[in-house]
């Protein structure tokens, strides 16, 4: 069992409330996933000549200042850095492939959680309430977000195995369920050049979508083909730079509920995660149909 949540603002005036709304949704899903929690938030877009990268250090006392100055020197460029507990969001004009190589050589104990122009990912072991408090999630503003609370079944309880997973620029996926053909599919995608950081099944779903997007598919087309290529149980919530989508497998055993009003659209594993949101009284509430792609924004 896991809990997943997603919120997308149709009315961008609400961006300032993202942190409080996302936090309350995540905490409501604690019983579905007490082992770890994570979020992907879409906010503070950098211009297209820069890349925004979320880095994770195993140690809370990591010396980010040293890393910051090394990085600025190596690429002779300004680097913006914003530290949040053991994560740091770095904005740099350094090309991503070179940055990856540099990071592996100079800061091998840091891991890249996400990269793009808009996405930031934070995730950690432990209860959702502790995660929200520790990462001061309530203060975060943004246009849309995904969240995950994990009860581990397929792989270990580590930060690395926590969700969300991002395998491509600004693309993120949260998953409730389990895939049965992920090993074979991972091999196939690796042959196509998609890289994976873990043995987790959900990461394969994110990698699959990335592969299809690379081929020129829209998110909606990528999700439609996922219905035939992914085998297993899933409810997915997916975020892109400007888009948000939801998909359930054809059997639809894993729960999902959606709510939409003029200002926002929200999805969650259970309605109680949505019940607290301001404006819920005006929202239409329904269960997304199986094997049907729901999307908003540029999906």
């Amino acid at each position: 069992m896991c809990g997943i949540v997603g919120i997308y603002y149709k009315n961008k005036d609400l961006n300032k409330h993202l942190g409080t709304m996302l936090s309350s949704m995540l905490v409501q899903m604690s019983e579905r996933g007490p082992d770890s929690a994570g979020v992907a938030v879409y906010r503070n877009a950098v211009d297209s000549s820069s890349t925004k990268i979320t880095l994770h250090a195993a140690d809370d006392d990591y010396d980010w200042n040293q890393m910051h100055s090394l990085l600025a020197k190596a690429f002779s460029t300004d680097v913006d850095i914003e530290i949040r507990v053991n994560h740091a969001v770095v904005a740099t004009t350094a090309p991503l492939p070179e940055f990856r190589t540099w990071l592996a050589l100079n800061c091998p104990d840091l891991r890249i959680m996400s990269a793009g122009t808009t996405i930031e990912i934070y995730k950690e072991k432990g209860a959702p309430r502790d995660f929200v408090d520790r990462f001061q999630l309530q203060d975060i503003q943004g246009s849309h977000a995904l969240g995950h609370t994990r009860m581990a079944t397929e792989s270990a309880v580590t930060t690395q195995h926590s969700h969300p997973f991002s395998t491509g620029l600004d693309l993120c996926l949260v998953h409730n369920g389990s895939l049965s053909n992920h090993n074979r599919l991972r091999e196939r995608l690796q042959e196509e050049g998609i890289e994976f950081q873990t043995d987790n099944d959900s990461e394969v779903a994110a990698g699959y979508l990335m592969w299809r997007l690379h081929q020129g598919a829209s998110l909606e087309q990528a999700l439609t083909s996922a219905i035939s290529d992914l085998d297993g149980f899933y409810t997915f919530a997916v975020g892109t730079r400007n888009g948000f989508a939801v998909l359930r497998d054809p059997i639809a055993c894993k729960p999902a509920v959606m709510a939409e009003n003029d200002d926002w659209v929200a999805m969650a594993s259970e309605f109680r995660a949505i019940a607290q949101l301001p404006g819920v009284e005006q929202a239409t509430v329904w269960e997304p149909a199986p094997a049907t792609v729901y999307s908003w924004g540029e999906a």
């Binding site: 639809a252 509920v257 259970e270 309605f271």
Partner: protein, 223 residues
Amino acid sequence: MTEFDLAQDSVRSLNQRLHESPTGRWLVSHPDGRHCIAAGLEASVEINIAGHVGYYCAGMNKQAHITIEGSAGPGLAENMMSGSVRVKGNVSHCAGASAHGGLLIVEGDAAARCGISMKGTDIVVAGSVGHMSAFMAQTGRLVVCGDAGDFLGDSIYEATIYIAGKVGELGADCIEKKMTPEHRQSLADLLSASGVAADTGSFRRYGSARRLYNFNIDHASDY
């Protein structure tokens, strides 16, 4: 009218009070998607729930009349024995699962597996139902004023299904059957009892082809 605010007190406390002194009319506020609201009631009380409920609302209901002003999560009125449950919004999967009696009315849509393994209850859905509805349904009636998803009535026993809209692929051993005047009258009575307006002339009847099991209809009362 007894008022109970779930923002102030727990579902357990509500259910205990409803089990211990089940009389009169109740208004339950701030359900906020909580699970198991008004489950296991055994008396003829009237309960109005002012909002959306979570899992297993009105489960095992006997005699009580429960109205949900919003939408409901999975397992609404599962194993209901008698009484009635009305949901004004949409309902998640497995509504009325294994229910033996009573009347379940869904004013919106019901998701997958509505009436799965139903054992005598009546379910009236003003909207549509999802896939695998009335799976292994044994007795009772499922009425759908909208459409039905794929695998309707898979492995059905002696339940009767009425559908006004489109039907996806039929489940194993489920077939369309002749709509007799008796069936039309039975449907009209059920719609009237449900307060759902629909033209009985637009419904088709589905049931078991009785090819999957060794069942003798002449001995139905013995089963």
